[in-house]
Subunit: 425 residues, 2 copies
Amino acid sequence: MVAHPRNAELRNRITIVRIVRLSLVVVGQEPEIRAYQVRMEMVEKKFVVTPWEVSGIVDYERLIREFGTQPISGGLAKRLESSLGDTAYLVRREIFFSHRDLNLVLDDYEKGKGFFLYTGRGPSGPMHIGHILQFYFTKWLQDKFHVNVYIQMTDDEKFLEEKRNLSYEETQKWAADNILEVAAVGFDPDKTFILQDTEFVGHAYPLILKIARRVNYSTAKSVFGFTGETNIGFSFYPAIQILPSLFEKKRCLIPSAIDQDPYWRIQRDIAESLGYHKAAAVHSKFMPPLTGMQDKMSSSKPETAIYLNDDEKTVRNKIYRHAFSGGQSSIEEHRKLGGNPDVDVPFQWLYMFFEPDDKRIEEIRAEYRSGRMLTGQMKDVLVEKVTGFLREHRERREKARDHVHLYKKDGALAREMWKHDFAKS
Amino acid sequence: MVAHPRNAELRNRITIVRIVRLSLVVVGQEPEIRAYQVRMEMVEKKFVVTPWEVSGIVDYERLIREFGTQPISGGLAKRLESSLGDTAYLVRREIFFSHRDLNLVLDDYEKGKGFFLYTGRGPSGPMHIGHILQFYFTKWLQDKFHVNVYIQMTDDEKFLEEKRNLSYEETQKWAADNILEVAAVGFDPDKTFILQDTEFVGHAYPLILKIARRVNYSTAKSVFGFTGETNIGFSFYPAIQILPSLFEKKRCLIPSAIDQDPYWRIQRDIAESLGYHKAAAVHSKFMPPLTGMQDKMSSSKPETAIYLNDDEKTVRNKIYRHAFSGGQSSIEEHRKLGGNPDVDVPFQWLYMFFEPDDKRIEEIRAEYRSGRMLTGQMKDVLVEKVTGFLREHRERREKARDHVHLYKKDGALAREMWKHDFAKS
């Protein structure tokens, strides 16, 4: 299985890198001419990326090396771009930055063998912008490639993850809530199956058993860092997360943030021995929290994230009050020195998702860097985009209430999956 | 949970005791007067009792001490005897020899609170006499106490137990076969639910998750001796075996051979925190293999066991050829020295199950010990009993084909269980 469990464990859990620390330094002594300058200094700092934790400033190139994935670049980037059309900016801007076997997926697609998409959500609370983006990315892939999408709602995992301290009822409530958000994204109801683990595990149990028999405890422990305190449900759970990657005897492409990669490493160890394909993956970067480029949006710190059910006033407030700005401290200084879009979260959000127009985003970048665009104006642009996006998402969500049953039970793909005989998998 | 995992592990796995070794010693020098004498000597020997292995000669008193259970004796034995009526010989003869909380079960029964029974079977192959006895014992308890019985068919466990190397299809075949054997025992179809794990796990998954969240890996490891090589399905499985013990908010009495006790130790650690009762147990002794008082009947050694589908000729052959005898080597010697019923397997089988009449069994013992009854005659008695039992069992099995659906789906209790909302457990 994994060759060097100890190393693998270390690799997944902690990586020490040099990062940029921002600090404000007073450069003038007299109060009236006090000015601030952003000083960048290199310091030793950890960052952590596991399926349950992302902290620090993520060094994506380093992740590619440590996780053993491949960058999306050169000819492969061109192939993907040409398929994506109007959403190709995700490739050009390296939001999709890393992959496993994406080239084989595109080969299979071009040869007419097809492939399928699989992504998921752990329903532990309300969803924010950072959560929903991967579903939009996945929908766009579905739109371009016309393939089946399987979306796993891992309510069992969230119940078993003890530190969350969620009751069973709470996980059920959040599963229903989150499924509606996902339905709002607008997947094809006949090519999309949303499986809620607590409902579907029984039906697929024969295949889950076959997966579980292939994964021994030391492998799972070394990949996920389980300890003796880990409950036996949680250490079994990887078998369930691997399940949908074996729903078809085609190649499975998993669009996800890179923190979920450890699951696919185990999947890739065992899939072929069960008669299936190794999972392919396309990894997207984490959307930074509003409060700065460090860590990821956190449900326990509401100021770091914008929730899908935040109203317009809340969105404005959060962006104006909490969004970390790369601008200067006064209009005069800003006009003179210009802003730094690399650390400006409103700019980064526009770049990563909300402004697909390459020409427009580069105008914004240049305007900001030159000092012609002020921090407040940058935030105005983002507020406009986010409130517009949320308004449309919410409208779709209301309409989606009547479609949830199609994704879960009655659409063509859902019906097929509920009829599928997993004893014969 | 378990206070001293290391000690607990050792306790479960190996116990060193003094046992009796039988050896044949030539006592006459000249060939024509050669005689054999059974010499008994005390030697150091191990025996092992785990849920997956029983070997050596089991010292039941020692097991009671090591497992921390209680002997069934004194007032408690009297109470149980008086309830059992015509099957009280199981208590008098100490076939039911050990228990946990049986006194509380009888208290609950007498107070009208009731209780329920739970037992099970791992369908890894054809069932033999040793397997079916516990089901007859359980049925007799049901007949006397008029209580619900839950019978778990652990086809998932047998698939996950890698050393058995069973395909999924094989576990399904044996599950169907074994369910029919169990149905032949004649449980009350409206008070009995046979749950086949691969069918029922999904329905009960919420409660399984609640159990699993309470059991950490080190506890399970120390109780069952898991290693890093153990697959993650097998280390999760204890949550599933514990499940039926929480099917009702009454006390659960588990009639089983004592090798399954480790599961109930974990159950007793967590049941009350989930709002249920600690499981009670009544432990029966292992029926010895035909070939001698050591180990237990083994499916991999067909001469050690009589299968429920062995025909009369096979039964005769096995008993006459393989049944270990406590008799002397010649009729003359036997008449002179007498036989030893303590090591005579035919006598032990009669004593443990096939001859419930106390007066008759003591006559047989005395006749044999005195030398008046010969080995062949003892075997005749057993052949008669076993073939009669199997004939009746097989007749019941044919009739039971039409009743399986009642135990699994359509009887009153089965219907109730399939309707039960485990999310509210």
